[in-house]
Symmetry: C2
Subunit: 151 residues, 2 copies
């Protein structure tokens, strides 16, 4: 994420917090910034290390900020990686799918209507009321596949 995109993301978060009547504190802002600056999913303890470069910090500091950012939908947690990634469209709540490249570590967030639909059908057929869908596919991205066939 380049500097401009980052600043835009932080402004968006700030505005959303104002709208929602919640506080976008310096701490929360800093953690969101670190997550967005990382080109890949970042773990809670990596965030902690970077926070510690500027001030004292302990795990609860990070996890409290993460809880907030997750609640507000500004970041997503990747369960298979125990890591966090900035959301690409935090304006509205949504269920997304993640394609995780185990080769380069990059992740693509998608909102596919077909998947959401089949999932709904599956849930309906089973009388299941979904709260939080987790769809993460681990594999190799187009870029890395191409790189392999070349070499």
């Amino acid at each position: 994420m380049n500097e401009e995109t980052l600043q835009q993301a932080l402004r968006t978060a700030d505005n959303l917090c104002t709208q929602r009547g919640v506080r976008f504190t310096a701490q929360r802002r800093r953690v969101l910034e670190l997550i967005c600056r990382a080109e890949r999913p970042i773990g809670a303890y990596e965030i902690l290390d970077q926070l510690r470069a500027g001030a004292k910090a302990a795990p609860p500091t990070v996890y409290r900020a993460l809880d907030f950012l997750l609640e507000q939908g500004f970041v997503h947690k990747l369960e298979t990686l125990h890591a966090f990634i900035g959301c690409t469209h935090p304006e509205h709540p949504h269920a997304s799918q993640f394609l995780i490249c185990s080769d380069c570590g990059r992740v693509k967030e998608l909102e596919d209507e077909a998947i959401a639909g089949s999932l709904r059908a599956l849930e309906d057929a089973n009388g299941f009321r979904p709260k939080r869908p987790v769809i993460e596919v681990i594999g190799t991205c187009a870029h890395c596949t191409h790189r392999h066939t070349q070499s």
Copy 2:
């Protein structure tokens, strides 16, 4: 899982191991049995506690057996719960979806063709080669929903 089903599952695992030329050791058998006996997903350290009732054991003992059982497809790992569950049809490799009730803890394993199809389409559109899909939906099962509306 009742006693008969359990014995059947263990026999199936044993046969598959013979076919595949891998060893279904006492350790591995014991761990599979504990997972199958649990009516719900069971954590590695719960398995460890139960193993310790009969003999000495340490975390690597459990994790080694789990690695084997996962490789062979006899059990699945639920990433959102950090827990393990017996596979309902270990004969063939497959990608399944899990409906996880956060109320009663029960999990339903499904193999839905529509979801698998939309996921394939999504992957193809992105030039992504999948290795391991993780699809887990946390929510409330039909039974628990019903129980709530009654009370």
